[in-house]
């Protein structure tokens, strides 16, 4: 390779960044294997594993039958006994079929056995709505898994974090669940070369302001950032925190921002009730940051219904950029 192409490269898509992370991890560590449905010659339902099958072959890029409970469990058992499996669910919705192994086994084995075992498994979940795939292929279920001690749960929103969080997850001695919003796969961004780790449990302050704090996850972090640009033109300056990890949650970054701005808005795609916003709000309410609040907390989350097929209905049930704009304006102008 020429020196120039070594130094300069174009942006990578989120999917490409994940593939690069998998490639690097497989190259440096023989124990890393990939498992999932149609991840081999097909390249994955969202073309994330792509040509890794060609490079590493069927012994390390393992197509499973359509057996989510069994497949996830096999990955867990292999993780306990020396492999580093990265298991791809075709859609995050199918985690419902594997809940037993994820929640009762992966999350609890270390604890139940008094610390005698480790379950260094990584599971990847294509998540979210916006593709017209309707109720059983569009959910945002990260909060379900976020409720389980023993698991770590992350939601990268940029290609750089998609790669760095995956590389961290593979090194992590505990089970890490990675939720990847399907609409992010084609988004592009700068991605550092080589091996690096984005720490699990650290939020990213993506934009600095003083009028309000927006805490957002996954694709909502992007939407919130874009809304914040418009808000800035209108004289409203938001701190935008991309939470990145919902278990563990970066408490300090959120509280520090709220102490500064005095206003909090949470934006997430999962169903609003009993969701991530409830946790963030409670965290603030239980802390000294509560004393700094100048207005009630606002949550923007998914509607209390499954994801509908009709495109207009589908858009209407998850927060969109105009919703974020309007809610932020109302919050800052004291209209709530």
């Amino acid at each position: 390779m020429s020196g120039r192409s070594e130094r300069v490269r174009g942006k990578l898509s989120y999917a490409e960044a994940i593939r690069e992370a998998l490639d690097i991890a497989m190259d440096r560590d023989e124990r890393v294997v990939l498992m999932g449905e149609d991840i081999g010659v097909y390249g994955g339902a969202f073309q994330v594993t792509g040509d890794l099958f060609g490079k590493y072959g069927p012994e390390r890029v393992i197509d499973t039958p359509i057996s989510e409970l069994g497949g996830a469990g096999v990955a867990i058992g292999a993780a306990m006994t020396g492999l580093r499996p990265v298991f791809e669910f075709q859609f995050s919705d199918f985690a419902a079929l594997a809940m037993e192994q994820i929640v009762n086994q992966a999350a609890k084995l270390r604890y139940m056995l008094g610390g005698a075992v480790s379950v260094p498994v990584v599971m990847r979940f294509p998540a979210g709505s916006g593709t017209g795939a309707a109720a059983q292929h569009s959910q945002s279920i990260e909060a379900w898994l976020g409720h389980v001690p023993g698991l770590k749960v992350v939601q990268p929103s940029t290609p750089e974090d998609a790669k760095g969080l995956l590389l961290s997850a593979i090194e992590d001695p505990d089970p890490v669940m990675i939720f990847e919003h399907k609409l992010l796969y084609k988004t592009k961004g700068h991605v550092p070369r080589g091996h690096y780790e984005t720490p699990i449990g650290e939020a990213a302050l993506r934009r600095i302001g003083h009028s309000l704090t927006i805490v957002a996850t996954s694709i909502m972090a992007r939407k919130s950032l874009s809304a914040a640009e418009e808000l800035a033109r209108q004289g409203i300056h938001a701190d935008v925190i991309d939470l990145r990890s919902i278990r563990p949650i970066d408490r300090e970054t959120v509280l520090a921002s709220v102490r500064k701005t005095g206003r909090l808005m949470c934006v997430y795609e999962g169903v609003k009730t009993l969701g991530i916003g409830a946790e963030i709000s409670a965290m603030v309410a239980e802390s000294d940051a509560f004393d700094f609040l100048e207005a009630p907390i606002v949550r923007l989350g998914g509607a209390e219904c499954p994801i509908p097929y009709n495109p207009e209905l589908e858009k209407s049930v998850v927060p969109q950029e105009p919703d974020i704009l309007e809610a932020a304006r109302n919050l800052v102008q004291g209209r709530i």
Partner: protein
Amino acid sequence: MASSNMPYAVRAYERRRLADALRKMILIRKFEEAAEASYMRGLIHGTMHLSIGQEASAVGSCMSLEERDKITSTHRGHGHCLARGADLGRMFAEFFGKETGYCRGRGGSMHIADVERGNLGANGIVGGGLPIAVGSALSAKRLGTGAVTVCFFGDGANNEGAFHESLNMAAIWKLPVVFVCENNLYGMSMSTDRSTAVGNISERAAAYSMPGATVDGNDFSAVAEAVDAAVARARAGEGPSLVENMTYRLRGHSRSDRNRYRTKQEIDDWAKRDPITRLFGMLVSHGVMAEGDMAELDGDAARKIDDALAFAASSPDPKVEEAAFYVYAGSGAR
């Protein structure tokens, strides 16, 4: 007797029913071709799974079903829905996400089902319909309705735990359910040789002490013969059966499939075993139809499709304010 050389279907059904079966198979084909065309023109969002090439399995498996009987369907369910006599206009309307669609625009291609005609749902979860079919058979037995449930599922679904748990319960409780596996050789990219430990999925019936049969799923008569026998057995209170229809999907798994896991040769070979051409040929050779009838059947189907498309196109979208209707009882009209 000469009649014993005749195919089962010609012996078992009146001419009118045979013609009706062929008409349904043609309608399924044309529905899906029109759906595909709408997709290509960007009129649909989301995905769709076409059953082009599998029409004999859908229609042949429903021949002895009565009004009270039930089916459970799959993500590849347009054929099952039409086999039970669903309305084309409401199917297209659902495809276009309209309020007049079978699911009021909430479900889309993957969930189109005419519940009034006994279809308990086209399911987006592989294997999702199997336990539901067993539940339907349990209630039929308990309530004494005499209804039989036909449970459609793919070869890929036979590796889900739900398949094994369902067959076992159906067998221990001797329930009136017929498991119809539409084995089109692949679950997405994975061939059954790679995914499944047995050669024929019907062999798995033995593990649950029920009869199992594998038939040529592109031969309408063979499908009807096997499933009719299984339905009769269920109706008589003798318990469940497993029928495996060997067939092939001529299109990709869904729109994004690049067909990397199979050869063009294989697809071409299966196209030569087209179930519609075969049924028509059989009907002509047994004097049920004449060569010239095909043009009329085609024309008739094309007109129905045009009318249905027009109905769907002119139908209203659901109202955004009503997005959360039908989550619980008591919300929305029904």
